[in-house]
């Protein structure tokens, strides 16, 4: 539109959008007030922080792999086939987005108090207040998102291309591997990164299932909680910045990947 027709309403709405930008950018930038390079260095290099970082990276990576292993076939089925329970599954996928992570974590914890849960803990893996609990809490939290994102990635590949591949003599698996997977690649990578970042930042469910035990179940978000509780602001800022930098990097990579796949 020509500039002359830019009325008051248009300008007010743009100001509102920039206000949203200012709120989030301002919050992040305000952290710099308490940023002391010396404390940042010391915090990061302390054994406790390094443990948190290692634990967070380990758990998030394991969770991402487990989530993908289940989500890739599940998402493909949801994207391509009709079957009994499909609609219920699609509803359930949005659970973790809408139900409080605290409630989700509490539910997991309570599950291990029933006979089935107790049997699992005694005979397979002990989850509660344990690293396995971190992995489980994060997995339950991100699984729904993982399936939804992968479903969108598979849906971006026209099913017609698979049909054409089949008419050219490809079996279903060959067509999936040579056509669907390569074409969904960017969406899959973006999902992988976002799931990983989401698992890395998970707090509520982790806190419920694995508790907050220094040097044991202290992931980065739990560490932020514990340091802030002990009013160690400079160290908290240092840990927040690590998470923000990782999150922002993941976000930018994922956006680039998704934009790339939208063009292709």
């Amino acid at each position: 539109m020509s500039l002359k027709t830019l009325g008051f309403g248009v300008r007010a709405s743009i100001v509102a959008a920039l206000a949203v930008l200012a709120i989030y950018a301002g919050l992040i930038l305000s952290l710099l007030w308490f940023l002391d390079p010396e404390i940042l260095r010391r915090t990061l290099w302390s054994a406790r922080s390094l443990f948190s970082i290692r634990l967070s990276l380990y758990a998030a990576t394991l969770v991402t792999l487990l989530a993908l292993a289940l989500a890739i076939p599940a998402a493909y089925a949801l994207a391509r086939y009709r079957f009994w329970g499909k609609e219920a599954t699609e509803i359930v996928l949005e659970f973790p987005l809408i139900i409080s992570p605290a409630a989700l974590g509490a539910t997991i914890l309570i599950f291990f108090n029933n006979p089935v849960g107790e049997w699992i803990q005694e005979n397979i893996v002990y989850f509660v207040f344990n690293v396995a609990g971190i992995v489980l809490a994060q997995l339950i939290t991100v699984l729904g998102l993982a399936v939804r994102m992968l479903k969108a990635a598979f849906e971006s590949v026209p099913p017609e291309l698979e049909t054409v591949a089949q008419t050219l003599g490809a079996g279903r698996t060959y067509a999936f591997l040579t056509v669907t997977l390569p074409l969904a690649k960017n969406g899959l990578l973006a999902a992988l990164i976002l799931i990983w970042a989401k698992a890395l930042g998970e707090f509520g469910a982790t806190l419920m299932v694995a508790g907050s035990m220094a040097m044991r179940t202290e992931t980065l978000p739990i560490a932020i909680f514990m340091r802030l509780s002990s009013a160690d602001i400079e160290a908290t800022v240092a840990l927040i910045l690590i998470l923000v930098v990782i999150g922002l990097t993941a976000l930018l990579i994922a956006r680039r990947l998704l934009a790339g796949s939208a063009r292709a």
């Binding site: 026209p158 017609e160 291309l161 049909t163 054409v164 591949a165 089949q166 008419t167 050219l168 003599g169 490809a170 079996g171 279903r172 060959y174 040579t178 056509v179 390569p182 074409l183 292709a264």
Partner: protein
């Protein structure tokens, strides 16, 4: 040879059936119809993406419904072409050879010949995104043909192209079909495309097979009102058979001379194509094989080389006429002026109601 016999298929609430038709080896059969007529359902049933409720689909005597898609040996060129955007032109063309592990000496000569006819040999290392619309069509055609299909299914593959490019590709398909002896089924809503490429035409309307047969027959003798309307025929009037060779047509208030004799007293519809109505001059000699009508030209659409005229008869009926543009001047045809036309007896067709 493709034989479809008593086929019924269903998608959601839409039901297609019963369809029976045969495509002779080396011939082209066009399936036409408005959108929602069941064209894509029929195609899905042949292709194997939709289940068949009842009936048979046989290709070279083999029951197709028992085969998975990848073993039906059908070449498929969908409307969006289905080219693999992550692969080069070469990798697209060799996809079937690689999927079936066919060695180069087997597919090589055919591929070379197809590249030569279609003229896309220079595009092999290009990415799909860099190709023009016409080049993509050619690549999709060659990719389907190099797999040596027993049947080629073309699903409106030219609808995204402009008219001149579309006509060029009709020539190409015709050439490929004749040289390679392809059996082709073409699905389209474009009648000109169907007439250009097909030997036989099937008309589907609302999931029903309305007419199947030689393209000339469908052009000149639509079997039902639905087909006639789909073909864009406006000149359709109720009539009743009188003495042999004559039809009572109340819309014109006259008796029309017709060629084929009908059962006396039968209720019918009579029709004629706009381009078969002949414009006459008052002093032209009367002909025994046509019926003359007069009226005034209500409206004239000038189409460049030809013109469409609306003639309103004294009885109130409206007749659509297509004539050469040069006639407008030489016959002094103008909006609001009177005019005379002839309906040739052998161009009038009759539909039982």
């Amino acid at each position: 040879m493709l034989e479809i016999d008593g086929l019924i298929a269903q998608v959601g609430h839409f039901r297609l059936g019963e369809v029976s038709l045969a495509v002779a080896p080396g011939s082209c059969h066009a399936v036409v119809g408005p959108s929602g007529s069941g064209k894509s359902t029929l195609l899905g049933a042949i292709l194997g993406t939709l289940p068949v409720l009842r009936g048979y689909i046989r290709l070279a005597g083999e029951d197709l419904t028992a085969l998975p898609i990848e073993r039906r040996q059908i070449g498929y060129v969908p409307q969006q072409l289905g080219l693999f955007p992550h692969l080069s032109v070469r990798a697209n063309l060799l996809y079937s050879a690689r999927a079936r592990r066919v060695p180069e000496p087997v597919y090589g000569p055919l591929l070379a010949r197809l590249l030569e006819i279609t003229g896309i040999g220079g595009l092999l290392d290009r990415r799909i995104q860099t190709l023009s619309g016409g080049e993509r069509q050619r690549v999709a055609l060659v990719r389907a043909l190099v797999a040596k299909p027993r049947l080629v299914l073309l699903d409106e593959p030219f609808s995204a192209l402009n008219e001149s490019l579309r006509r060029e590709l009709w020539w190409l398909v015709k050439e490929l079909q004749q040289e390679q002896g392809l059996t082709v089924m073409l699905v389209t809503h474009d009648l000109t495309e169907a007439y250009s490429l097909a030997d036989q035409i099937t008309v589907l309307i609302d999931g029903r097979q309305e007419q199947s047969g030689d393209k000339a027959a469908i052009y000149r003798r639509p079997a039902s009102l639905a087909v006639a309307r789909f073909l864009g025929l406006k000149n359709l009037f109720p009539a009743r058979a009188q003495t042999p060779g004559l039809l009572d047509c109340p819309a014109f208030g006259v008796q029309l001379r017709i060629k084929d004799s009908k059962v006396e007293g039968e209720e019918l519809w009579v029709g004629i194509r706009a381009e078969h109505v002949a414009v006459r001059r008052p002093n032209d000699p009367l002909r025994p094989d046509e019926t003359r009508l007069s009226g005034y030209f209500e409206r004239i659409l000038d189409l460049g080389d030809s013109a469409m005229l609306h003639l309103r008869t004294p009885s109130g009926a409206l007749l659509e006429i297509r004539c050469r543009h040069r006639l407008l001047r030489s016959y002094a045809i103008q909006e609001g002026k009177m005019g005379i036309v002839g309906l040739p007896a052998d161009e009038l067709f009759v539909i039982r109601s």
